[in-house]
């Protein structure tokens, strides 16, 4: 008799479940108080829907009638589908929240989860900076409500580095190399290549330095080419109230080339956990793929990682 579970999946027993529910409740209550309506969508979608949402679903099943179905890999695609169909005639802005299990592939030997419980929001039809600032604010309030104390929200702009490469006239294939290295977090390769592009010294060091630039809002006061390209982030941070702004780390090197992001991207860090707790960003073009062109922003919090970070803070592991 085989009673094992697939790797990367697990049962949740009552003690953990109670804590997890409390955290989930705090997040959802914050979303609701901010005007977000909670929705539920099917675990099963057509694979094409996930692909329209720029995500390949790793788990596919054949239904009893022979149709190919996919386990959803995120909630952004399904909510885009929902907005384009059920809300086709409703005037924006649209505000949705969810707490749902999504299904991911895992790399062996790293203890990754195949099933993630994500709680998040999608805000459709409110452009940057207002929409982005609202999402970051809701994120910050929700984490505080859940009981996380020491977190920061790293905020970057996925369009920043590609625009700088354009501004400085870097050739397409060199751009591809540098963006791959940026996505791969390899500052060594970036600095080497930036130095060999034949650019003037100032431009070369700018391309080498920007990926590692992170810190408080004073970073946004840069001048020159960089300063011009930071206007978008400046307006987002400027729209935050000071309690939220104090949580923000400006991170000019963040480049999650994950499918659909178009502008500001953000990620939650806590000293008590070695990995990010949640992430989000703007996806101003995705809804167009679903036939409902609306600028949008959203985020998802990994509830189990949030739980681990809260537990870590309680254990006083903040030195890690």
């Amino acid at each position: 008799m085989n009673l094992r579970l697939p790797s990367g999946t697990r049962d949740v027993l009552p003690e953990e479940m109670a804590e997890r529910r409390r955290i989930e409740r705090a997040l959802l209550d914050t979303f609701a108080a901010a005007g977000y309506g909670e929705v539920s969508t099917p675990e099963l979608e057509y694979p094409e829907t996930m692909e329209l949402g720029r995500l390949t679903a790793p788990y596919r099943v054949t239904s009893d009638s022979g149709e190919e179905l996919a386990l959803r890999a995120d909630m952004t695609g399904p909510i885009a589908r929902l907005a384009a169909t059920r809300y086709a005639d409703v005037a924006p802005p649209l505000r949705f929240s969810y707490s749902a299990v999504v299904h991911r592939s895992v790399s062996p030997g790293k203890g990754e989860a195949r099933e993630l419980l994500q709680a998040g929001i999608e805000l459709l039809g409110v452009p940057s900076p207002e929409g982005t600032a609202e999402a970051i604010t809701v994120l910050s309030h929700a984490l505080e409500a859940a009981g996380l104390a020491g977190f920061s929200i790293g905020v970057g702009d996925i369009a920043l580095y590609p625009s700088l490469l354009d501004d400085l006239g870097v050739a397409a294939e060199e751009q591809a190399f540098l963006l791959d290295a940026l996505e791969g977090r390899d500052f060594v390769a970036i600095a080497e290549r930036a130095g060999s592009l034949g650019l003037d010294a100032e431009s070369a060091s700018l391309l080498g330095d920007v990926p590692a630039m992170r810190g408080d809002a004073s970073l946004l006061e840069a001048d020159g080419v960089l300063g011009e390209r930071l206007a978008g982030l400046r307006s987002v941070v400027g729209a935050l109230d000071s309690r939220v702004a104090d949580r923000v780390i400006i991170d000019l090197g963040r480049f999650p080339r994950m499918g659909y992001y178009t502008g500001a991207v953000f990620e939650v860090y806590d000293p008590a956990l070695g990995e990010p707790i949640g992430s989000g960003g703007r996806y101003d073009e995705l809804l167009t793929r679903f036939g409902r062109p609306l600028e949008a922003v959203g985020f998802a919090v990994d509830v189990d990682r949030l739980h681990a970070a809260i537990a870590g803070e309680e254990l006083g592991e903040t030195g890690r």
Binding site: R185, V188, Y269
Partner: protein, 212 residues
């Protein structure tokens, strides 16, 4: 804890000496690490020691904020979620394809059998190198003493890291192809990089200065 306020993962083995030399130069007194090759955790100077291939694991999980490891180790697991901050310049080695002296048995196997058997501690690098050059290779993973494989007929060739080439030479092996050159790298955890940005930048600056 050290003056940077960072937990540093330091590799044992060939990279240990030059890594400790570097830490000494940036003001972390490592005499106690040199004096004790069994202890693994040196909390008062914020140093943990481990096999080089485990350094990315500790840094990725945040058990260490930063670490020192070889580019070879990073190439072998490129999907790790960590930042590569600096080329430290020391520990230079070449990743090579090597085989028994004389007739090239790997090429012979490819010509006659269409596939070459390659023994290695670096299955991913080896597989990518052969696939990237359009040759079919059967990768045999071994944990150590890779040089033995072609001598006993386990494999036609090996993919391994060599610094001086002496071990290859003593076992009657010659380098057939060079894949890349690897040096030691300073790597960082993705959360530490953001929430301890001043600390990480302080270390990077000190290391740059120390390296001249």
């Amino acid at each position: 804890m050290n003056r940077f306020g960072l937990t540093i993962a330091v590799p044992r083995g060939a990279l240990l000496e030059p890594s400790l030399d570097l830490l000494d130069r940036v003001g972390i007194e490592t005499a106690q690490v040199r004096g004790n090759d069994r202890r693994l955790l040196f909390e008062d100077i914020g140093v943990v020691t481990m096999r080089p291939s485990d350094v990315p694991t500790y840094v990725e999980a945040g058990a260490a904020d930063v670490g020192i490891t070889g580019k070879d180790v990073l190439q072998e697991s490129p999907d790790r979620q960590l930042f590569e901050l600096l080329d430290l310049g020391f520990g230079e080695c070449r990743m090579v394809v090597a085989g028994v002296e004389g007739e090239d048995r790997g090429a012979e196997a490819l010509r006659r059998l269409g596939v070459v058997r390659v023994a290695t501690k670096y299955p991913r690098i080896a597989a990518e190198h052969f696939a990237g050059s359009g040759r079919q290779a059967e990768i045999v993973k071994v944990a150590g003493s890779v040089e033995l494989a072609p001598l006993t007929g386990l494999a036609d060739a090996i993919v391994d890291l060599t610094a001086t080439g002496r071990t290859l030479e003593e076992n009657g092996l010659v380098v057939r192809e060079e894949i890349f050159t690897a040096t030691a790298r300073l790597i960082a955890n993705r959360v530490s990089l953001r929430v301890k940005s001043a600390e990480v930048d302080g270390l990077v600056e000190a290391v740059r200065t120390a390296a001249g």
